[in-house]
């Protein structure tokens, strides 16, 4: 099967299209107004990463407001379908965060997360999602600073990519 040719041809068109909307200013969906801001959903486990985000707050560390946290008890509760749903509904980037391996409040939940998402992450890239639009992090309750750094870096990465079109299903 000629996997390559036509895909490459269409991709060429795609990249051109992307380039036009991919200005450094981050002008995207609302290109005319130049007010596009990436929408980022972060799934955080209650015990570590959510607490880490809380610590960032308690320490008054600033990070972009683009990040919207959805709290789950454990990173093992994060169904990969949630990631797809977020992209469908207009997320430009999705982040998953849990306790460091070995530190799971529920002992082993994040080990499943690690397995599951090491497969899912590769697969999302494989089906054509830009690798920088999804990322996973281990952030403990004491790593407020890591949460902040991660939030900043991820937001900037996603911002530089422009609005996500892959899987997007908005009106």
């Amino acid at each position: 099967m000629p996997v390559n040719e036509s895909a490459a041809a269409e991709a060429e068109m795609m990249t051109e299209a992307e380039m036009t909307t991919d200005g450094a200013s981050g002008a995207g969906a609302d290109a005319g107004t130049g007010t596009w801001e990436p929408r980022i959903v972060a799934f955080c486990c209650n015990w570590c990463s959510y607490a880490g985000a809380d610590l960032a707050g308690t320490s008054r560390k600033q990070y972009p407001a683009n990040i919207r946290i959805v709290r789950v008890p454990c990173s093992g509760r994060i169904n990969p379908q949630y990631i797809l749903r977020a992209f469908q509904r207009g997320a430009d980037g999705v982040m998953v965060a849990g306790c460091h391996p070995g530190d799971c409040h529920y002992t082993t939940g994040n080990y499943y997360t690690r397995r599951r998402f090491s497969v899912v992450q590769r697969f999302l890239e494989y089906v054509g999602l830009h690798p920088d639009r999804f990322s996973g992090h281990w952030i403990s309750g004491s790593e407020g600073e890591k949460f902040v750094q991660t939030a900043r870096e991820f937001t900037e990465k996603v911002r530089s990519l422009g609005p996500n079109e892959k899987m997007r299903d908005v009106l």
Partner: protein, 354 residues
């Protein structure tokens, strides 16, 4: 980083009952397909299984007027087995029918190729049917023929029958003309790259172990896709997913899809909307593939039945490749008592998180 912790639970194979873990050595071997005595022996085997009450039902194939398309059939009595058939057109993977027998009182015989047998094993491993309820009548499969390829080789003439030899097939048309084409030219795509044509677990086996066809084409295609840019891959899959008509045949034939209430059929939560757009197609395709990853037996039945030619195997095999590379687990369906590697873990697992 803290010290690694290990729990009692995630031991490979648990919570399989211990008796399933016994090595499976088929006790009997019958003649190979292609042997003139093969079909008679297969019918005898099925007949006596029914007659002696070892099984109460046999799922196999029956001849039809269209010799390229035998149909799946359910034999309940020894008398019915007269038109039981197994030839190189038994493409349909019948293992999934076992699910209709989840509450059947009695044993079921299944006539299976290597790929179908993996499906049976996977259903057993997914606890959908107990091992002792299934009589696995395995056939070491020389490869199956794609009727569409035969028909297109015959051109406008209608095919009456096909006589298969070891390396070539003879196509006989209704008009009586004969033509010989290489076997490989009419084999199904999945058979062209089949590495495991022999049933890994069986009670009876027909034929000697087949070597299979070692083709890396699928993995080469996957590698090619992996080398592409993100945008190219996006375009590639958009182009294919666009055609999806959401017939769910891929799901319905899949031995790893045994849910009675699939996420795609649920209204609450509303995972999958009916609208045919790229977003929903992606959700469907990705979720389907991810759900079966770690349990996909690589039978490629989904790929075969997809009416619009979406290269599903490029997804399933990609997932399988990653699962195998990352977690070093056997191909699902090749071993009894093995659970999905995705419900297990190891402290040394690769970590893609930061």
């Amino acid at each position: 980083m803290s010290e690694a912790i290990k729990t009692a639970a995630p031991v490979e194979g648990e919570p399989m009952p211990a008796e399933l873990k016994t090595a499976e050595i088929p006790t009997r071997r019958g003649p190979a397909p292609g042997d003139p005595e093969f079909l008679g022996a297969l019918r005898d085997c099925c007949r006596s299984l029914l007659a002696e009450g070892h099984v109460q039902r046999i799922i196999a194939y029956r001849e039809t007027p269209d010799s390229l398309r035998p149909e799946v059939a359910f034999f309940a009595s020894p008398e019915e087995t007269g038109d039981l058939v197994w030839d190189l057109f038994c493409n349909t993977n019948i293992c999934k029918y076992l699910l209709d027998y989840r509450t059947f009182e009695g044993r079921i015989g299944v006539v299976v190729k290597g790929c179908d047998a993996r499906g049976v094993v996977q259903l057993i491993n997914d606890m959908q049917i107990p091992r002792d309820k299934v009589e696995i009548i395995g056939i070491c499969c020389p490869g199956q023929i794609d009727p569409a390829k035969v028909e297109s080789a015959a051109g406008e003439a209608w095919v009456s029958r096909v006589v298969a030899g070891p390396d070539s097939v003879e196509i006989v048309t209704e008009e009586g003309t004969e033509m010989r084409v290489p076997l490989e030219s009419v084999l199904t795509d999945r058979c062209l790259s089949c590495r495991k044509p022999n049933p890994p677990v069986a009670d009876v086996v027909f034929g000697e172990d087949q070597k299979g066809r070692i083709s890396d084409e699928v993995f080469e295609q996957i590698a090619e896709l992996e080398r592409m840019s993100s945008a190219e891959r996006d375009a590639f899959w958009n182009r294919h997913f666009e055609r999806c008509i959401r017939c769910f045949a891929c799901r319905n034939v899949c031995p790893a899809c045994s849910c009675t209430k699939c996420v795609f059929d649920q209204q609450e939560p509303d995972w999958l909307a009916g609208e045919r757009n790229q977003a929903n197609q992606h959700f469907f395709q990705i979720t389907r593939a991810v759900h079966v990853s770690g349990r996909c037996t690589g039978c490629e039945e989904c790929d075969r039945v997809c009416p619009v030619g979406i290269p599903l195997r490029l997804m399933n095999k990609k997932l399988w490749k990653d699962v195998k590379d990352l977690f070093d687990s056997p191909l699902p369906g090749t071993k009894l008592g093995v659970r999905s590697p995705l419900v297990m873990w190891d402290p040394k697992d690769a970590d893609s998180f930061e």
